[in-house]
């Protein structure tokens, strides 16, 4: 069976028309009315919508993106494939293009030694206008400068997620590679490793429509970004035989999602339908990856969604005295350790310790435009520099803070494996009564102001100063 090939946008050969067709197809899709399930606007609203008046038939189709959940990757795979099929149909039927058009991906994690431009926005997306002065449909308001630099740093696009051994660990707080076991999750709870970095960080760094889940999918770069995330899922899965998707029916078949196909007809899919990319809407694969093998589901004990994080109990070893407001460029706060009485400790086990130590930022809520923060830990008064342990990324924080949403406004929860830092700082001994946690705000570039296609209800996210509040900073042993 011939499947379409998704290629690296930076490796497209000279004269290749993939992006040209994409741009012209977007022009056509934007002409379609909001009420048309194959319009650019409807497709974007499926991810999240900024305040459109919902047309008849949109209930159950709009505002459906899955985040902070083990459905994040399969839902976006289905979403991406449906959108790709719609664009491909326009390219074939309206533009006389090829039958096998496929979305390219933006591999921003590529080594800069191989591609110095890797972290920069692909050139076709940078300019508001084409050479002939007509509007460029691939352009959108973003933080990119003329060279396409959106401020991505190496830490923002690192692929530590690929070293996660499990898609969703059977118990505990670590959300694993693919995200925590949940029910339907339009926002809330903890992001999986891949969703956290690079997915969330890239969204925030690009800014503009991309910074808000309710406008993100209107930006054409969204689809190349998610194509890359989808490719990284395949890369993780094929890298090691032990990297398997959940075998749990709760993930594979119990929950189905609905979208519209290229003809505007509704269809539904489950995660199991998304496991083999060669079977997804005509089939596709990535240029640099081997053809997918048959389903490689793992063997995870069937579980249930609401009690997902109620397995073996991690042990609380320290917590902040109260909520922490992240204001200004730097916020530094102590977290008191209380290791006395714990059932597990480093001192009782040989190093390297089998015990994991997690920093858990609980109930991160906020308003305004999301911001990212570098997180560091250290001991007060020691002469060592603070150790970086991760990035707090607040993509989707406003949705997760909405009290009328499914999680009741409980906000985001982010989990960081700080085992290495904990061992170096000796956090489990009485000589470390408290640890200092520092949040350094990552400077965000200004968004390029430009005209963008007008449709009632679609506006740029308000440029208000973010107010981010971490409900509790906790340290757990597991």
């Amino acid at each position: 069976m011939t499947v379409r090939i998704r290629r690296d946008v930076y490796a497209l050969p000279s004269g290749d028309q993939t992006l040209d067709f994409y741009r012209r197809a977007i022009d056509i899709l934007r002409q379609r009315p909001l009420s048309d399930p194959t319009s650019w606007w409807w497709i974007g609203a499926v991810h999240g919508q900024p305040g459109f008046t919902p047309p008849p038939g949109s209930a159950g189709f709009w505002d459906r993106c899955q985040h902070q959940t083990w459905y994040f990757l399969p839902w976006h795979r289905g979403y991406l494939a449906a959108m790709e099929a719609t664009v491909a149909k326009v390219i074939r039927d309206d533009l006389g293009g090829p039958d096998d058009w496929a979305l390219p991906y933006w591999n921003y994690s590529e080594s800069q030694a191989v591609n110095p431009d890797a972290r920069n926005l692909p050139p076709a997306f940078r300019n508001p206008n084409m050479a002939d002065g007509t509007p460029n449909a691939l352009f959108a308001p973003r933080s990119a400068d003329a060279a396409g630099d959106v401020g991505l740093r190496e830490a923002d696009v690192q692929l530590g997620a690929l070293t996660e051994p499990e898609f969703t660990p059977a118990s505990g707080f670590n959300p694993g590679f693919g995200g925590p076991r949940t029910g339907f999750s339009h926002f809330g709870s903890a992001s999986g490793a891949l969703e956290q970095v690079p997915h969330n960080v890239v969204h925030v760094r690009i800014d503009g429509w991309m910074i808000d889940p309710n406008t993100a999918a209107f930006d054409p770069i969204f689809w190349l970004h998610h194509c890359n995330i989808d490719r990284l899922w395949e890369e993780w899965r094929t890298a090691d035989p032990s990297h398997t998707n959940p075998a749990d029916p709760a993930w594979r078949t119990d929950l189905s999602f609905r979208l519209h196909d290229a003809d505007g007809q509704p269809f539904s899919f489950t995660c199991a339908d998304m496991e083999d990319t060669t079977q997804v809407m005509g089939g596709y694969r990535y240029d640099t990856l081997p053809a997918p093998a048959a389903t490689m589901a793992g063997d995870i004990t069937p579980g249930e969604p609401e009690m997902a994080d109620l397995g073996l109990i991690p042990e609380l070893a320290g917590a902040s005295d109260g909520p922490v407001e992240l204001s200004g460029a730097r916020t530094r706060t102590p977290v008191a350790m209380q290791t006395e009485g714990l059932g597990r400790s480093f001192t009782e086990s040989a190093l390297p310790s089998p015990i994991k130590v997690y920093l858990r930022l609980e109930e991160v809520t906020g308003t305004g435009v999301p911001a990212d923060f570098d997180i560091m830990v250290d001991l007060e008064g020691d002469d060592q520099p603070p150790m970086a342990v991760g990035i707090l990324t607040t993509f989707g924080v406003a949705n997760a803070s909405d009290p009328s949403a499914d999680h009741g406004g409980a906000g985001l929860t982010q989990v960081y494996d700080i085992t290495e830092a904990a061992e170096r700082l000796n956090l489990t001994t009485e000589t470390a009564p408290q640890v200092q946690v520092t949040f350094d705000r990552v400077e965000q570039r200004a968004v390029t102001e430009a005209a963008f296609p007008e449709i009632e209800g679609l506006t740029m996210p308000t440029r208000s100063e973010p107010t981010i509040r971490v409900g509790r900073i906790a340290i757990y042993f597991e």
Binding site: P302, E304, L310, L316, S320, G322, G341
Partner: protein
Amino acid sequence: MSVQAAAGTTVPAIRPEAMSNPGLVWPLSLGALGWLVLALGAQRAEPLALCLGLDLPSMGRFRTNFDAMLFYADPLAISVEWMAMVAGMMLPLAAVGFGRLVMRAHRLQRACLLVAALLGYVAIWALLGPVVILAIFAVRAWAATAPETIWPNLAPFALAILWTLSPLRRRLLIAAHRVPLLFGPPHTQSWDAVGYGLTLGRRCALVCLPIMAAPMISGLGVIAMLLTTHVLLAERLTHEPRAKPIRLALILLAGLTVIP
């Protein structure tokens, strides 16, 4: 490893490893104890006054019927039955919240916080008990004034079904998912846990009471209460919470009340 609820809703089973969490184990154990008490009570010569109703002849007038029910009801037995119903029906629904609370607590404080939260939760239901019991007797007394009409039995089901359609109920259900963050010294955390129990109890009562009251008023028995608990639990444990199975169960139970 799953059970099928009404309308084909799959309710996945609890993972074995979750049973190491006392926040789950204690409420579920108390719930099982509650059902055991009800099952044993159903075998007694004296019927369960709440689940089955008192088998009294109609005296014609509302006040006479109501007074008769109060006269024949054994306060101790009816109190035990009420608390057994609360344990059996409500504690399994609240167990997830208690489990999350425990996971947020230091190992040395888990038991204390769990007891505090359970006390707060049960206190709400204990306070509600007399009000609900009197309301049930009142509706039954009204029904007894005109035994030939079916409306007094159907009205509570109609109200319960309408309540499942209410956006307010959904908002309350969502709000019930919130679990407090714990700060400060142990005694402060204990009071926070009591507060959580009170809040959760209040929200659970608002979300569930109209639904659990309908089969109680009709005196359909322990099996009907078990079915009601099952669909309420299914609503919380399914991947996308939907109240449709609850409505189907209520319609089924309402149908049973009109069968001669």
